[in-house]
Structure formats: structure tokens, C-alpha cells
């Protein structure tokens, strides 16, 4: 740790910097590759063929909602917070979409924008309560989760409503993996976020709130913005969920609160804030779907499926932590 030692230290190359500083992302991508390979292997054993277009399409379509709300969760996790209201926002977006979106271009575009705005507004409420009310994110969002769920039930008391087929096919085309475009868009959003003033502010806040403030960063604004972004992404996730189902159900979003956290963790983000990559979260979301696929084709007794899913998660998280610790020690 001394000067002499420091002077002797050679500059490391860009690649090794990237690997050393993005251990979580690298591991998430490696995990995704391994999961895909394993999936192809069990699929081959079972079907004597490799997965094709249909499998790719359904995997992407079924994962889109998680990609979106996982990314939303990521914005909040970076600030060292947690947004438990993700599922509630999705429920409300889902319900509103099923009730209001009609088969005209105006309705589809108009209501999509309105629902996204509502999602952002719900996130804004969370953010204001947390940042200005100085309340714990978990408490605030646990409360608003119930409130948003309640609102969703009011909008759509019984599962039903409908989503115009055109709308569904634009978002989650069943005949081809065109939703990959949206995955790319989400990745680009993260890329731009990371290189924006807002991104710097939110990351700085997650690094050390005091230090961020000492650097002249408006930490209140950053925190509110993070929650607003989360609400916006969750709203989009709700739209995709409705489009996949082709109808509404004001409760199907509930599970996404937990799934989004799982995706964030598998994506190698640090729950203590300030570290991690949204690209990893996208990978993490796909890994969760891959786990479902792998277990499906490996003929595991369905009674034990959730056991194995949990086991897989624990192993992934523990291995990830161990490897990243080793890598950091070496660097």
C-alpha cells in the first residue's frame, strides 16, 4: 500500500481493467452463455435437434417484461435502494392497457404514452417520499406496492379486457424474434444512461451520498430520478405483459417484484449500490428464463422444480460472489 509499491505497479491494460471492474457483468454474461449451452444440450437430448426460431421467439417474448422491470429495478439498486412497487406498477399498467387500448393507431399510441407517463408518475411518488420524506425505500415501496395493486384491482376487478392483436404483434410478435429489437433498445438506454449526467449523479449517489453531495451533485434529484425511471420501465413492462397475454389481469405483475430483484442479482449488480451494469441485468433476466427451459427439458420431477430453481440461484450467486472476490484480490 506504500508509495514505493505504488510506483512499481505497472499500468494494466484496458481489457484487464474492464474485466476487473466489471466482474459482475462478465460473470452474468458467462452465466448466460453457459445457460444457453446447457439448454441446447438438454434440448438436443430430448428433441434430437437444436432450438429454433420458435424457441428463440417465445423466450424473448416471455422475458421482455422481466428485462424491462429488471432494468427499472437496476436504476434504484444503483442508488442503494430497492423498489418493491415494481409489481404494483406493472399491475396497474397491465390493467389500464387491457381496459383502454382499442384497435386504432391513436388509441394504441396515445394510451401507451399515457400508461408510461402514469408509470413514471408512480415512480416519482416513490422517489419523492424516499428522497424528500427521507424514508426507507423498502418501507415506502412496500406501502405503495399495496396501493398500486389496489388501484389496479379497481381498474380491472376481474381478469379480462383485451389487447388488440396488432398491438400484441408489434410488441411481442409470435412469428419471429422481433422483440430482440426492444432488448437492444433497453441496452442502449443503459449505455446512454451510463454516459449521461444523470447516470453519473445516480451512480455517485450509490457510491457515497455524502461524497456525491460534496461533489456538488443534487442527490435528491438523482434519487427521485432513479425511482421515476424505475416506474417508467415498470410501466413499459406492464404493457409488454398485457401484450404477451393478449388480455389483462391486475395480479399477474405481482411476482415481478421478486423476479426483478433476482434478475438484478443474477446480473451481478451490487445490492449495496454504486456498482453493476444494466447489461448484466438483461443477461440475468434471460438466465431466469433459461433456468425454466433447462429444468423443463431435463425431466426433473415438477414437484422439485422450484427447489432446483432456488438451488440454481443460490449456486449462481455464491459462485459469482466467490469468483468476483478472487478476481478483485488478484487485480
Amino acid at each position: 500500500m506504500s508509495t514505493e509499491a505504488a510506483i512499481e505497479r505497472r499500468r494494466t491494460g484496458r481489457l484487464s481493467h474492464f474485466l476487473g471492474q466489471n466482474v459482475g457483468l462478465v460473470l452474468a454474461l458467462a452465466m448466460l452463455v453457459m445457460a444457453v449451452v446447457l439448454y441446447c444440450a438438454v434440448y438436443w437430448v430430448e428433441q434430437a435437434a437444436l432450438p429454433g426460431m420458435f424457441e428463440l421467439t417465445s423466450t424473448v417474448n416471455n422475458t421482455m417484461s422481466l428485462v424491462l422491470c429488471g432494468m427499472g429495478q437496476a436504476f434504484v439498486v444503483v442508488t442503494r435502494g430497492l423498489d418493491l412497487s415494481v409489481g404494483g406498477v406493472m399491475d396497474l399498467a397491465n390493467a389500464l392497457a387491457a381496459v383502454h387500448i382499442k384497435d386504432t393507431v391513436g388509441s394504441m399510441v396515445g394510451w401507451s404514452l399515457i400508461i408510461l407517463a402514469i408509470g413514471a408518475a408512480l415512480g416519482l411518488v416513490n422517489g419523492l417520499l424516499v428522497a424528500i420524506g427521507r424514508l426507507q425505500p423498502i418501507l415506502v415501496t412496500l406501502a405503495t406496492l399495496s396501493i398500486y395493486q389496489g388501484l389496479a384491482i379497481r381498474v380491472l376487478p376481474q381478469p379480462g379486457g383485451s389487447i388488440p392483436p396488432v398491438y400484441s404483434s408489434v410488441l411481442v410478435n409470435p412469428n419471429g424474434p422481433s422483440a430482440l429489437v426492444y432488448v437492444l433498445v433497453v441496452a442502449l438506454i443503459w449505455y446512454a444512461f451510463r454516459r449521461s449526467s444523470l447516470g453519473v449523479a445516480i451512480f455517485a449517489l450509490g457510491n457515497d451520498e455524502q461524497a456525491a453531495r460534496a461533489n456538488g451533485i443534487d442527490t435528491v434529484r438523482a434519487q427521485v430520478a432513479a425511482f421515476t425511471l424505475s416506474g417508467l420501465m415498470s410501466g413499459a413492462a406492464g404493457l409488454f405483459l398485457a401484450a404477451t397475454a393478449t388480455a389483462g389481469d391486475a395480479t399477474t405483475g405481482n411476482g415481478f417484484t421478486l423476479s426483478s430483484i433476482v434478475a438484478v442479482v443474477l446480473g451481478g449488480m451490487n445490492l449495496f449500490g454504486g456498482r453493476g451494469s444494466g447489461i448484466g441485468v438483461i443477461a440475468g433476466a434471460f438466465v431466469t428464463t433459461m433456468i425454466v427451459n433447462i429444468l423443463f427439458f431435463s425431466n426433473i420431477d415438477p414437484l422439485y422444480q422450484s427447489f432446483y430453481e432456488g438451488l440454481f440461484l443460490v449456486i449462481a450467486v455464491v459462485l459469482g460472489a466467490l469468483i468476483s472476490r478472487l478476481m478483485r484480490r488478484r487485480s
Partner: protein
């Protein structure tokens, strides 16, 4: 930010003045009508005990705190400095004691935060950012900090340097530094003072605080001494004993207490051929009643030696004897069981549990003795803790206050007291006085001598050669993980230690 002297108020107006500044926190008057001024082209040192008001003054001047009363003047004009940004607008920049770096961001991101170079679509151009940061660092003669490295991966000293650089690149007219050297090694201090002298030549005003007297006299043009929230005067020349007397308000006969005579030569701790990461074939003997100093240039295995003796760093070879018996120390638990205690320099990460109370921290190591059936007796805990607080003169508002509210020196004392409660007789003190104010330093010195008088042994590493020379019975000078020289006798001087370290270093090059 305008360079050059102000034209409106005449050339004689000081660059920065504080007039009758007061600031209270709750019931504590941190500053009580303190005044002071510093001019362009001057290096001005603020000295005083912790709590004397220096840091509060710096925070007020830097816009981090607003005074309850009093006035700040810049170049003769009254100003309100409501925020750090406002201070920056006036060309006043501060390097704070507590670091304001973002640990999981790169050096470049930290240096250029909120001023990042933009590329297409106004997005931050990371490649250019690294290049700019590299240029800034190189321009200031820093070649060993990689702009692409995470701050987390830097040493404490490197972080402090980045902190300083971040402010220097803003081209401040008035530069405030709150204990900038407390985490720097000798080379870095030399670099910083070079920088400060350059700034002085550039007609800037530099104000800094420090607890290291030789540094203060080395670089400061004038010194203002603080006590109890007020200034006691500004001096161009003052000797250390007088300064300490002023700071503490007590007549100090001798800054360094008399070494107790070393009688029985019973060895407490013997180390033979100790080898591990950073330590090779190291042998030493610590006797009862002895302060055994360990010195040498930073980074030559001192830390590793101390931590491996405490079981907190691995050992690959050699043997350790305690009271003449061979022992195995593979964890701090083993060490504590053998009566070995470590007080490290970095209090925040090792030893103390900052958010917990003084009382709990004091009694942490002896909880089993204070408990019956696993339930802690609060009464006995309180009694034991109160004894130590008065014996070691720990300055704390109460036993229930969190340790983090205490000053650095008092935190050190809490840690030391914990080990005394645990009845440790081999004390490993690793640079415990770094960043500690003079008065508390003095108390720690007295404590050390009284401890060895009780028959304990102290292994004492310090980055301050002066300290080692005055307190130690013997001094071991380390080089490359082993003992390169042993100095003995009451006549050891700081120069002896430094020259032994350097001689060894150069002889190796030959």
C-alpha cells in the same frame, strides 16, 4: 475565478479573512469569535488540539458550514459563502479531511466529475476522459496513478493525492487543506509540499492544518494557534514546546516522557525467522518493560509483521515464542488468547465498531467475563468501561455515545483500553499517533511509558522517526521484510533512524 491580486481593495488586503467567527453545534461552541487572516503568496498553518476549531473554520471558509456570527472577507470584500459551489465561485477550494472520492468510480471519473468531456449526442466520451485525466496527473508529476483504476483499488495515500489533484486542477486562488498529510507517506508529503511551494510562487494563498510539527515548520510561512474555539495568535517563529503549551493551556515540561529504566530482561515475545508475505527471515525479541520501536521506509513489511503477529496475516515460516513457549497464531482469536493486542492505524476499518457505543467497544473483548449464562451484566460492563475512560483520559460525552463521535486520538485510546481490559501484555501499536493531535499524542506517549512500567511490552511502529527516537529503548530498522539495523541506547536520534533506513536502501542499490 480570477487570478492576480484584487484591484479594488488595494494590494495590502489579505486574500481571505475570518472576523469574529462563531459556530455552535448543539451545546458545544466549536468556534467562539475566532479571527484570522492569510495573504496571497503565503502558506498559513492552523494548529491546535482536535476540537480547537480548526476544522470548523476551514468548513466555514469552504462553504460547508455557515457561521452563527462573524464575517468572511475575500480580498477585503465582505462575502456570504453559502455553499461549496459559492466558495468555488470565489476561487476558494477545499481538500477535506474525510475523503469525498467515489470509491467504485474510476480516478478519471472522480477527477472530472461534472466536467466530463462530451462526444456524440452529448454522451460522456470515456476515452477522452481518461486521456484528460492522464494529462492532468502527468502535468502534476504523478505517474503512478492510473486514471482507469477504481478509487477503491488505490491506497489511502493515492486517494489523498487524487483528492488534492481534483482541487488543484480547479486553479484555486485560496486553497484550504484539512490535514492533507495524515495519510501520506514521506514521498507524497514531499510531492505535496513541492506543489504548495509552486502555488505560493504563483501568488496563491494556501491554508492547511497538520499535527506534524516538522511539516508545519517546513512549509508554513505563518502559524495561527487555536484553543477552545478561539485564536491565540499568529506567529512567524515559534518553538514546539511553546506551541504545545499554548495549544493545551498547560505547561508541558517535556513533550516526550522519560523512558522508564529497563531492568529485568525477561523476554515476552521472541520471533525467529518469521517469513510470510512482505516479511522474510525476521527475528526480534521484545522484553518485559520495553518499548521496542520499529522504523524504516514505508512499505517494507512493518504492517505485515504487525498483522501476522496478531494472526491477521498469514505466516509461512519461522517460529513465535510467548513467555518462552512456542505458540501458533493463526487468527486474532489465538493472539488475544495469548495476551497479544493490536492497535492499528486505520481505526475505521480495523478494530472499532464505529456506530456502537464507547462502552460496548471497550468491553467487546471481555464480554465472556462480564456475562453470566450468556447474558451481559450491564452493571459490570459500565464499571469496567468507566474505569478505563478515567484511566486513559478518554474524552467522550458518555459511555453510550457511538465511538464515531470521538476524535481520532480518543478512538485510538478506546481501542487501547479494550486490550488493557482484556489484560493483554504484549501490545502491538502500529502507527497509532498518525493523524492524532499533539495533546492526545502526548497522552498516548505517557500511557505507553506507564504500560511498560507495569511490565508489559510494547512493539511500536511509527512513520514519525522523531517519536521512535524519543520513546523507544531500541529501534529496529526494517528493510525488505527483515531487520536491517538495530539502534540501541538513549542517544538514538531521528536522523540515526532515517539514515539507517536510507543507508540500507542505497547499499542495496550498490
Amino acid at each position: 475565478m480570477s487570478a492576480g491580486p484584487s484591484a479594488t481593495s488595494g494590494p495590502i488586503a489579505p486574500a481571505i479573512e475570518g472576523i469574529k467567527l462563531s459556530k455552535a453545534f448543539g451545546g458545544v461552541q466549536a468556534l467562539a469569535g475566532a479571527s484570522f487572516s492569510a495573504s496571497r503568496g503565503e502558506v498559513h498553518a492552523l494548529v491546535g488540539e482536535n476540537g480547537a476549531g480548526k476544522s470548523t473554520l476551514i468548513k466555514i471558509l469552504g462553504g460547508r458550514l455557515r457561521p452563527d456570527a462573524g464575517q468572511v472577507r475575500l480580498a477585503g470584500a465582505n462575502v456570504q459563502i453559502a455553499s461549496p459551489d459559492a466558495a468555488h465561485g470565489h476561487g476558494v477550494w477545499t481538500v477535506f479531511q474525510e475523503l469525498t472520492l467515489l470509491p467504485w468510480m474510476t480516478v478519471a471519473e472522480n477527477l472530472l466529475i461534472r466536467r466530463e468531456p462530451r462526444g456524440t449526442l452529448r454522451l460522456i466520451d470515456r476515452a477522452r476522459m481518461a486521456e484528460q485525466a492522464d494529462a492532468v496527473l502527468a502535468g502534476l508529476g504523478i505517474h503512478h496513478i492510473d486514471p482507469r483504476a477504481l478509487v477503491e483499488d488505490l491506497s489511502l495515500a493515492q486517494r489523498q493525492i487524487v483528492e488534492i489533484v481534483r482541487v488543484i486542477v480547479q486553479d484555486p486562488d485560496v486553497l484550504l487543506l484539512d490535514e492533507p498529510t495524515s495519510s501520506l507517506g514521506e514521498n507524497e508529503v514531499k510531492w505535496l509540499f513541492g506543489l504548495i511551494r509552486d502555488l505560493r510562487r504563483g501568488n496563491k494563498c494556501i491554508i492547511f492544518t497538520s499535527h506534524r510539527w516538522n511539516e508545519i515548520t517546513d512549509v508554513a510561512d505563518r502559524i495561527t494557534i487555536f484553543r477552545n474555539g478561539g485564536e491565540l495568535g499568529t506567529f512567524a517563529e515559534i518553538d514546539e514546546t511553546r506551541a504545545v503549551t499554548l495549544m493545551t493551556g498547560q505547561q508541558v515540561d517535556a513533550f516526550y516522557p522519560e523512558r522508564p529504566p529497563l531492568e529485568a530482561a525477561r523476554p515476552l515475545l521472541q520471533v525467529r525467522g518469521l517469513t510470510g508475505p512482505g516479511v522474510s527471515e525476521l527475528s526480534l525479541t521484545l522484553r518485559a518493560g520495553e518499548i521496542l520501536g520499529v522504523g524504516g521506509l514505508a512499505g517494507h513489511g512493518h504492517r505485515e509483521l504487525f498483522f501476522s503477529l496478531f494472526g491477521a496475516a498469514p505466516i509461512s515460516g519461522g517460529e513465535i515464542l510467548v513467555n518462552g513457549r512456542r505458540v501458533r497464531i493463526s487468527s486474532p482469536r489465538d493472539a488475544i488468547g495469548l495476551g497479544i493486542a493490536l492497535v492499528p492505524e486505520d481505526r475505521k476499518t480495523e478494530g472499532l465498531i464505529l456506530p456502537m457505543s464507547v462502552g460496548t467497544n471497550l468491553t467487546l473483548a471481555i464480554l465472556p467475563q462480564l456475562s453470566a449464562l450468556g447474558i451481559i451484566s450491564r452493571n459490570r460492563e459500565g464499571r469496567a468501561a468507566r474505569n478505563m475512560v478515567s484511566k486513559l483520559k478518554i474524552r467522550t460525552p458518555g459511555l453510550r455515545n457511538p465511538v464515531q463521535q470521538l476524535s481520532g486520538g480518543n478512538q485510538q485510546k478506546v481501542l487501547l483500553a479494550r486490550w488493557l481490559l482484556a489484560d493483554s501484555h504484549i501490545l502491538l501499536l502500529y502507527d497509532v499517533t498518525r493523524g492524532v493531535d499533539v495533546a492526545t499524542k502526548h497522552e498516548i506517549y505517557e500511557l505507553m511509558t506507564s504500560l511498560v512500567r507495569e511490565g508489559r511490552g510494547v512493539l511500536f511502529y511509527s512513520s514519525d522517526a522523531e517519536e521512535l527516537a524519543h520513546l523507544s529503548h531500541r529501534v529496529l530498522v526494517m528493510r525488505e521484510g527483515h531487520v536491517a539495523a538495530e539502534l540501541e541506547g538513549p542517544g538514538i536520534t531521528a536522523e540515526d533512524i532515517v539514515s539507517a533506513a536510507v543507508r540500507e536502501a542505497t547499499s542495496l542499490v550498490d
